[in-house]
Symmetry: D2
Subunit: 139 residues, 4 copies
């Protein structure tokens, strides 16, 4: 199954459809049923202790998995998250970007499911894992 | 078990420890093992279709449950979320604040667990449900 | 919204459709969008330490929520669980039945979502909480 | 980090500590931070429609991840599951065993986290994904 959107198309989609958050993210890599997204770490993402907040990591996993799905099915912006689950496993190092690699595990007609691992850039052990389900609107 | 922080103490805690997000939230009500938090809806919270984004709702549930726990144990800012799970069940109406009621189900020495329901203000059916686990640092 | 199946109808449904497990469960109470199910504790449910195993409690929450949904929509046996999430919060006391109260939070055309609390009989603090999503087959 | 229990030690542990369920499972493969477990499909695991039930798959993922952790830390039977999350993505084919591959993502002093994919034997697409958290008792 070939991708329908490449890195440039996904970056443009993000700017157009998610203007509130597009500048925080950059698509690093897109493959068949997988995508890696960078969170450009900034002050607004931090929580007490100086590390990136949980909701920021949830958002990173959500956007990465969403884009991994859209890369396969095309720009269906109204695809919505119905369920998300995340484990925060380690503190990310301060001052580094986060990289999230999502993979699509099921791409059904109505539901899609993916999971994701988040790493601090240059670090070997994952800081978080997540799984997300999406409802795909009828064409 | 009596609360250790009231509404005023929790609002002050939020401003001091979470300056990035404190202005988005207001504590509505605190009780024994329960707390209701308001998300003051704004442009930055929206996603395509004009409704409040999933990561914003995850953050609302996380902050509400975290404050419900701190109300009971006192201002342990380094309490961290270890797991979160959320179902997005309905679209919130556009232009209304969200209200999240969290309840603490377990308050252990090391781990605390709570769950939360999120409603659009003035609406009867919940827009999301969540459950969160926290690791409490040793004193 | 009125129920379509009462306690007797649900017990009969369980015997007919789930003969492998029906004898382990008894419907205690059915209401609008809520149901309480008893797990009749037995040797086969135990894990090291003599308490009821996690998968047994997951099954209890799943069957309780499934029956709470069927009580509302009628005997759609092919309704399937698509997602489940559970926190095991306390050890149940040895030798007591478990009671699980499920509530239906969303009853859509295609997806239904519920959550559940599990108690040891006669105990005040919940031993587990769960949330489950179901896909409802087209009529 | 070297394993502390090999396939034979894990099979023996299962028989001794989990006599209720040991005959349903067989360890297929153990590696560093990973383990594959077989569910020997039987009548007792089925649900309406003739496929393996959700709670059975939850139990498979739970036992696989638990054994993957014990392989690394040794036979700490009182390690307990604190949280589990599972997506049921496809119907397993009727009459085939299930294979579950778990990987340990975090092995802390107090908490361990892993995830798992379940496949019908001989099938390429996963039928379920899960993530589980364990509390490790002090030595």
């Amino acid at each position: 199954m070939a991708s329908k959107m490449d890195k440039a198309a996904l970056d443009a989609f993000l700017v157009q459809e998610f203007p509130q958050v597009a500048s925080q993210f950059a698509v690093e890599d897109v493959g068949e049923m997988t995508l890696t997204l960078r969170l450009i770490a900034a002050e607004q993402h931090l929580r007490p202790g100086g590390t990136i907040s949980g909701p920021t990591m949830f958002g990173l996993a959500d956007v990465a998995t969403y884009l991994a799905i859209l890369a396969m099915i095309g720009p269906a912006a109204l695809t919505v998250t119905t369920n998300g689950n995340i484990d925060f496993m380690r503190k990310p190092a301060a001052g580094v970007d986060l990289l999230c690699t999502a993979r699509v595990l099921k791409l059904g007609r109505v539901l899609a499911v993916g999971d994701a691992l988040i790493f601090g850039e240059g670090q070997a052990a994952p800081v978080a894992r997540a799984a997300l389900t999406y409802s795909i609107p009828p064409q």
